[in-house]
């Protein structure tokens, strides 16, 4: 049977209408009729590698250089954040950001030459120059400025770098004090700016105390940490000895925040601690030479993992209790709050409770 011309016209018209309607929908929603995931996940990589140009490399104190790295549309950061620098030799080193967090066209870091170090600082001092391109990762913050009624900062030498943006960020009315120690005044970076930040040092009862060992002897930690208001957040960054001394003298009712610039170790190492596996109801001991992953796998052989170096993310586990010593390169700051990569990260204290 031959179709009537009218039927053909109607069918063609209907096809046109459908086609136009489809095209409009696909233009508005590329995978129509699928909905979009809200919030979406893809397109926000965790560690976007950026290549930045060194536009300034200047000596700002004895043995300290300040480096300015320029790019465009750089991720913003909060005071306390650090950057991973991939040095020309492939070494990766972390440096606290000490510039302006609002500046999205450049990052500033400062580093001290460690004579007997592992080569990273020597490379930054001697081989990185103006015009060199460096790969960076981050920024990341494991030393964030928390909300507190009052603040006490203790900085030793180059440890002033993460503290400086904090001081700049605190509102004028906030109660804070700073103890800044170093070997000699000439070796202490940013002294001038610090003294400018608290000009009425004498009258306001010593907001900033600068102690140079060659002139004033050892910093008076006891006096500095005496009569802190209830709830004060104490921030300390500097040599291991200084941080241990602050930890020892920490008054009750204050919270301590430490930033170590000691190297992050890739595997094993350090103290023993206990791990409780909440859902399986077992408790294990992780000694200094094994990873949490190895200990957990001995009990639960089907625990997922892959790279064992803290970057693939497969072994991420939820942490219910305990303070975590994060040693991975992957998790975001918010994920670090309640989860860890068990292949490299460890406990800061003596116990962790995992949700496995």
């Amino acid at each position: 049977m031959k179709p009537k011309p009218m039927t053909l016209v109607l069918a063609a018209g209907a096809a046109l209408v459908v086609r136009r309607a489809l095209r409009r929908r696909i233009q508005a929603s590329p995978l129509w009729p699928m909905p979009a995931l809200d919030p979406s996940v893809s397109g926000r990589p965790r560690s976007r590698a950026l290549t930045l140009l060194v536009t300034a490399h200047e000596r700002i104190a004895d043995g300290v250089v300040r480096i300015r790295l320029e790019g465009h549309d750089l991720p913003r950061w909060e005071p306390g954040a650090h950057l991973d620098l991939v040095l020309p030799s492939g070494l990766v080193r972390q440096y606290s950001l000490c510039g302006d967090p609002e500046d999205t066209s450049s990052y500033t870091v400062a580093t001290r030459l460690v004579e007997d170090g592992r080569g990273g600082s020597r490379e930054v001092h001697e081989q990185v120059q103006e015009g060199v391109e460096l790969e960076v990762r981050g920024p990341r913050n494991r030393f964030p400025l928390v909300e507190a009624p009052a603040y006490a900062f203790v900085a030793g030498g180059i440890g002033i770098t993460p503290v400086l943006p904090m001081l700049r960020a605190l509102p004028e009315s906030t109660e804070w004090r700073l103890l800044y120690g170093g070997r000699t005044r000439a070796s202490m970076p940013f002294l001038e700016e610090i003294e400018k930040l608290a000009p009425d040092r004498e009258r306001s009862g010593g907001r900033v105390t600068v102690v140079a060992e060659d002139e004033d002897g050892h910093p008076g930690l006891d006096a500095f940490l005496a009569d802190l208001p209830e709830g004060t957040a104490v921030y300390c960054c500097g040599p291991e000895g200084l941080m241990a001394a602050v930890e020892e003298r920490l008054p009750a009712g204050t919270a301590l925040h430490l930033e170590r610039f000691a190297p992050r170790t890739t595997a094993g190492g350090d103290g023993e601690f206990e791990v409780e596996l909440h859902r399986s109801g077992r408790t294990l001991t992780v000694d200094g030479d094994t990873s949490v992953l190895a200990a957990v796998r001995a009990e639960l052989p089907n625990t997922p993992y892959s790279c064992e170096q803290g970057w693939c993310g497969t072994c991420q586990q939820k942490v219910l209790e305990g303070e975590i010593d994060h040693r991975d390169e992957l998790l975001t700051d918010s994920e670090r709050g309640d989860s860890m990569l068990i292949c490299v990260s460890r406990a800061r204290g003596t116990r962790l409770v995992l949700d496995i």
Binding site: L31, A36, G43, G90, P263
Partner: protein
């Protein structure tokens, strides 16, 4: 052809995209964008592979296969991260992929994600269905990997070396681990009806996603006034070697459905391993790893 077994290991690569132009195959936006669809699908897709494979680990009773799966998971996680890093670069150049990737995210996280099923058979069924889907998709990733390793036409056209290295590093790892997904499927299920059914779903979905993706990029490319994508464009570039040829795609279908299929018959492990030994990104990854071990 080689099917020698190599231990699988993820490589922590990183790529800097600042110098890669929008049309990284010079003067050929269609080829550029057809290949760019990979960056839309892979971040969510390979994340989903990892998610599913973490759940399948307890079902694997063979030690060597388990080790392969562990290596496979790390490689897939890294692929997902590496392609994800291209997306902000596209956005910087005025081609925002978010509307598309948000929907791909929904596909893998919701439609193909874990469902609230009663434990036991229904839950196992859904897991096996997804394992079979992954095996079918991996047939195509290995096909594409083998293709890109041999796509000399892209070099001759002056394609961006960083993008070519990303594609070939990824392609080489896909060829390297091409047998894993299929062996997992055989090990935990292996039913032919499921294999045929999931192949049909995967193939239809890939065609659908790919044509919509190319079309999306062509229409939203800020440098093109009337960007269109047609099947003829694809067919022509296939003949010139800039994209896989229509014939090669068609011939890959009966191979996967044949009862004697095994992925080791496709592509060459030796070629893949040789590329990985020379790939700038993979070489840098090994050097970084060594220097970090040395520093500790």
């Amino acid at each position: 052809m080689s099917n020698k077994h190599v231990p699988l290991k993820a490589r922590k690569v990183s790529f800097a995209w600042e110098d890669t132009p929008l049309h990284w195959v010079p003067g050929d936006p269609f080829t550029t964008h057809t290949i760019n669809v990979l960056h839309l699908l892979l971040p969510a897709g390979e994340r989903w592979f990892v998610h599913v494979y973490k759940q399948v680990l307890p079902y694997i009773r063979d030690e060597r296969l388990r080790e392969d799966v562990i290596g496979f998971i790390g490689q897939e996680a890294m692929h997902s991260q590496a392609h994800d890093e291209v997306l902000p670069h596209l956005k910087d150049q005025g081609l925002d992929p978010t509307p598309y990737t948000a929907q791909v995210d929904w596909l893998f996280e919701k439609l193909l994600g874990d469902r609230t099923l009663p434990p036991g058979r229904p839950r196992r069924w859904w897991l096996m269905e997804r394992v079979a889907l992954i095996a079918a998709i991996e047939h195509y990733t290995a096909f594409l990997g083998d293709w890109v390793l041999n796509a000399d036409a892209l070099d001759r056209r002056g394609a961006d070396p960083t993008m070519l290295d990303l594609l070939r590093w990824h392609g080489a790892e896909e060829v390297e681990h091409r047998s894993v997904a299929f062996e997992v499927f055989l090990h935990v299920d292996g039913g032919y009806a499921r294999r045929a059914r999931t192949w049909a779903t995967a193939f239809a979905a890939l065609v659908f996603l790919w044509q919509r993706g190319t079309r999306y990029f062509m229409e939203n490319d800020p440098t093109l006034i009337d960007g269109r994508a047609t099947f003829r464009d694809f067919h022509r570039r296939g003949r010139r070697g800039l994209l896989p040829s229509t014939g090669a795609v068609a011939r890959s279908v009966p191979r996967y459905l044949s009862r004697g299929y095994h992925p080791s018959q496709e592509g060459s492990t030796e070629q893949a391993v040789a590329y990985l030994a020379a790939s700038p990104a993979a070489v840098a990854a090994v050097a970084t790893e060594k220097s970090q071990e040395g520093a500790v």
